[in-house]
Amino acid sequence: MSNSFLIRTEKLYKKYPMGPTVLVALDNINITINKGEFVGLVGPSGSGKTTLLNIIGSLDSPTEGSAEVLGNKIETLSHQDAAKLRNNHIGFIFQTFNLLPVYTVYENVEFPLLLQDIPPAKRIELVMQALEWVGLADRKDSKPSQLSGGQSQRVAIARAVVKKPELILADEPTANLDAKNSHNIMETMVKLNEELDTTFIFATHDEKVMKYLKRKITLNDGYVQRDENISLNNQ
């Protein structure tokens, strides 16, 4: 894994006006994440994990401070540029899978490539490769409603990795899965992290996920309580 810098936040704040008061969701976040890291944002509900993930993913913008992702200042990005950044460089995995219900597994995975206007032959190759990575090539014609929770999340992972992004953001990816499926999903993501050198950032408070993390950033009430690298020996 290289050590090149991929994400950097400086004095990052996210505040929400709540009537007469202001809710500080993120409070002076200063972190740097390098390429190829496998990072978990952990902490209790309401600690700011998803908010930070959303800002890194250019789905939201900071109230104050700076968030630089893949050389793009999130706070200055237009809607179009933010969409372009997400389309070309960032993959998302959601807690509730968020598969498009009317599309087949194949079409769901193919979708990001359609947005990138990739030629059909190349699309077929990339989609099948992604489905093989997650072990669902044989279910390519199924609809999301015909899949189990674990299978749906693996489709979501395939959709996130199919365009081979530099960064994958996963928001509670195992929260809706049982222990066995959670393990399979995490194994899949570790494999992709190692094989493709893709940077993974998780927002999670699932204990099952913790043991796979190589770096754990603990958030509490919007600030970074602890930022620790976890060596394999400690796991």
């Binding site: 179009q80 969409a83 498009l100 009317v102 359609l114 206007d117």
Partner: protein
């Protein structure tokens, strides 16, 4: 191209909701095309009938003739000008002499117009050859409506009274030699047709006429002193404005239908945006811009109109083809419409009508589809992913 594929996919994926809208919208297509075709057919049919039996290729009117003022008839007659008498001789024009009169059917008096016409004329499609039967009586043609209102029938004799050129009242008997069935009430209601020569003799107006009807497509438009040329645009103006009024009235029906269909589309779009806000968030997370999202949802709405056009073609196509071929039967009461209609109307469905209707519905549907999707511009991806409404 991508959003078209996506829109089709989403639309078909929505299942019954889509098809209900499509069916409702297809009714609008068929109703608009049918009603407009019916009115176009009716309009053309009544114009053609009126030209055939009443207006020919235009008319010369005596300068004092006013069809809406019966009192003008006493003075609105003159000798046929030499410039046009050649046309009449060659059967390229027909002269008509009109006068006021009264008949006394069954002991009651009825005011009428007496119209003299050459029994051998070929300009108007009126069976005037029946007027050649002059065996010691004055032959008369009346229309079906006149027969009904006067109680006269073929073979009946009736007393007729008129005033000649010198103002003297005179009377005689005429024999109804034929009751003609005509779609055009203007040559029927309250009038009697008799031979022109006899009329001239009765009224002491030798060689005179009130109006001269030209053959269809006649190019003769010379200025004749004491006469005014009335072209078909002038003669048909009232008829056309009547048709426009009737057509506008009918359009209320299909606008209501279209409005209901648009309400369904609008409702579907609102529901779609509400139900699919999480999907919108996902699409944005995957890199779709808001403007593409708006285009996608608008296109989805608009494509209801495209699918409806195909659906309308499936069942509406054979229906309109059949109606155009066999016509649409009219009830007897349609005589009271006040214009020339046959027993059947043959609707006319032109390419312009069909394409114009498709474009109209497509445009309205697109606007109605776009209106709710504008809310997407305010949508934040994070809110959408959380399922929060705009």
């Amino acid at each position: 191209m991508l959003i078209i594929k996506l829109a089709i996919k989403n639309l078909l994926g929505a299942g019954l909701r889509t098809w209900l809208n499509v069916i409702a919208l297809s009714f609008s297509y068929v109703a608009i095309i049918f009603m407009q075709g019916l009115y176009a057919g009716m309009n053309n049919q009544m114009e053609a009938s009126t030209i055939k039996v009443q207006y020919g290729g235009g008319q010369y009117w005596h300068e004092l003739y006013d069809p809406y003022d019966p009192l003008s008839l006493d003075d609105s007659h003159a000798k046929i000008p030499n410039e046009i008498s050649g046309l009449i001789k060659n059967n390229d024009a027909a002269s008509i002499l009109i006068n006021q009169g009264s008949i006394y059917p069954n002991g009651r008096m009825q005011n009428i117009l007496i119209k003299g016409i050459d029994p051998n004329q070929k300009i108007l499609a009126i069976p005037t050859h029946f007027l050649n039967n002059q065996n010691g009586f004055i032959p008369a043609l009346i229309g079906g409506r006149m027969a009904k209102s006067s109680g006269l029938k073929k073979g009946d004799f009736v007393t007729i009274r008129w005033r000649d050129a010198k103002g003297t009242f005179d009377a005689d008997e005429v024999k109804v030699v034929e009751v003609i069935n005509t779609e055009v009430s203007e040559i029927d209601n309250g009038q009697i047709w008799i031979p022109l020569d006899k009329m001239r003799e009765m009224t002491v107006m030798p060689g005179e006429a009130t109006l001269i009807v030209l053959k269809q497509n006649s190019q003769f438009t010379k200025n004749l002193s004491g006469w005014e040329f009335k072209n078909l645009d002038f003669l048909l103006a009232d008829l056309r404005s009547l048709a426009t009024t009737k057509s506008a009235g009918a359009s209320i029906f299909y606008f209501v239908l279209l409005f209901l269909a648009m309400l369904a589309i609008f409702d579907t779009q609102i529901l779609s945006i509400f139900r699919r806000r999480k999907e919108m968030g996902t699409l944005m997370a995957l890199g779709m811009t808001r403007s593409t999202l708006i285009k996608l949802f608008t296109l989805e709405g608009s494509m209801h109109a495209v699918l409806a056009a195909f659906a309308a073609m499936l069942y509406g196509g054979p229906l309109v083809w059949y109606l155009a071929k066999v016509g649409y039967g009219l009830p007897a009461s349609t005589d009271s419409f006040g214009f020339a209609l046959g027993d059947r109307i043959y609707p006319e469905f032109t390419a312009l009508l069909i394409i114009g209707t498709i474009l109209l519905v497509l445009t309205v549907t697109s606007i109605v589809s776009y209106l709710p999707t504008r809310r997407i511009t305010k949508l934040k991806p994070t809110d959408a992913l959380r399922g929060k409404f705009i």
